[in-house]
Subunit: 311 residues, 2 copies
């Protein structure tokens, strides 16, 4: 094993970059813009350039660098190829191969949500867990599955696409994916707002949420924590579906730890307690006490996980 | 790699034994009784004895034998310890360690359903698939998850306990596990009979099933294949729940192949077609075409998978 590695997390507007020691110490962290023009043709060359500049700046010996890992918003297969990263305007791109050629370093590529899960399993909330499930509650619901310390990318790159677990066969509205009844329609920020609107329409109860012209997920979560009756009813439904889905995932891979991240998780321990209550109700006996914890690396999870991939 | 290995599958009444070449060729297959008296203390010594006898009979050189794998009905952790195999009357038992000491061979132990899945992934219906899900529809519903060619036993030995995926939060009857709403309550032989009784009670429609004094799952499946309207309604409900559950599992590990085994799977291709129809309805876009196939090794899946564990 060498001394250093790079972890790169490509987002739609910025690329987060990290230089790590191979023991997981983050030595340096910086960002560059994501240039999506011309079908995103500059993105990987820009990454290679900033890595080369960092190597020069720090006077690193390339032989001491184990490689560069990169997280990409979109499905990535086991060879490190992106099928179609729409937010980067890419069609098929052999990301790991191109980045290796551009940098002269060993390179690995993974889906950004999967890579963030690996980061949390390496140095975050699930540190030391060989098997873990991470669910990221943001605008959508993403996730990552770690088995035996490695990302489960799956045969079509859809490993950890837990937001599209179909948990409600009775749903009549469509998810962005085209199906009806996905976890994302309930447990994402957008889903929580949707659930709130339905709940408020279904009753005339007073609620602080009725004072808002436009309800946000944060409004619902704040009202839930303040004990607003309607917000509590909304979040109990969300918790029932989300805790129930996590219980199903546990029957599949029986993780050591379940990590909850993403913007919605800023609601903190009250949200975790709610999820845990329903998880425990629905989980198989052996798995009822599996810890559910808040992600701890925040926006750095991606660079940590990307770095871990090459070690 | 050596030339031979043994695969052992311990059931409640018989122990199935196989001698394999390490390329997967089954050279010899035999059974011994499972002696469960005295808390099953003879089971592993009996296995060691029959292996030793086979080695003598075939004049094998122990140095040419890679080891012995064993499947056990109950949760097995990653060290090869059984927490509590109730059908064998065992409490905690370090199975792999004891079997290794008794035989002088390298030994690995796994849960029987998980081991059968590994057998199907090695030389059966999912041959060549590195990632696969197997669901076994018998008296109960068991299963096994293979990721990267290896069994996912999970942190508590509950990996692949897919029969206890809680898929119906509205269920009022209890599963054997104590929860309400498990897949096993719908898709096992027992579950199919339960679903049939509910359906027949809910209507007065004529059905061949009403002519039976005691309905079996085979009766329901035969009537379904013959187009009996009530049986079709029953099995559509089973297919909806089972196909939907498999679609959720695919969002977790995105397998290359899904294998359906167990006694219920004797219903054959019409059952697979039914499951596939609902799987496709609920699966995430990238996974909609994942093949669902019938198990092909039958009762030999366990010895194949057990042998594979030691290679």
């Amino acid at each position: 094993m060498g001394l250093y590695c790079f972890g790169i997390d490509v987002g739609g507007t910025t690329v987060k970059c990290g230089l790590f020691q191979t023991d997981g110490t983050l030595l340096d962290k910086w960002e560059i813009p994501t240039r999506t023009e011309n079908c995103g043709e500059n993105i990987l060359p820009d990454v290679a350039k900033t890595i080369e500049e960092k190597i020069q700046e720090r006077k690193l010996n390339k032989a001491d660098i184990d490689g560069v890992g990169i997280g990409i918003p979109g499905p990535i297969n086991e060879n490190g190829d992106a099928a179609c990263a729409v937010n980067l305007y890419w069609g098929f791109k052999p990301v790991a191969k191109e980045l290796s050629e551009l940098t002269g370093l060993s390179a690995k590529a993974g889906n950004d949500a999967n890579v963030a899960a690996l980061g949390e399993a390496w140095k975050g909330a699930a540190e030391g867990s060989k098997n873990m499930v991470m669910v990221t509650l943001g605008t959508g619901v993403g996730g990552g599955i770690i088995v035996d310390g490695k990302i489960v990318s799956g045969h079509h790159g859809a490993g950890g696409e837990v937001g599209h677990a179909n948990i409600n066969h009775e749903e009549t509205e469509s998810c962005n994916c085209g199906n009806k009844g996905c976890l994302e329609q309930v447990a994402s920020a957008t889903g929580i707002v949707r659930m709130a609107k339905k709940e408020l329409e279904a009753s005339d109860d007073t609620s602080v949420l009725r004072e808002k012209t436009e309800i946000s997920a944060k409004d619902v979560l704040d009202a839930f924590k303040d004990g607003d009756a309607a917000a509590v009813r909304i979040m109990e439904k969300v918790g029932d579906q989300l805790g129930g889905a996590l219980a199903i995932f546990s029957c599949v891979i029986d993780p050591e730890t379940i990590v909850v991240g993403g913007g919605v998780s800023k609601a903190g321990q009250p949200l975790i307690d709610l999820i845990q209550k329903y998880y425990k109700k629905y989980a198989f006996s052996l798995c009822k006490d599996t810890p559910i914890v808040l992600a701890s690396l925040g926006n750095d999870a991606g660079i940590y996980g990307a770095a871990r991939m090459v070690l």
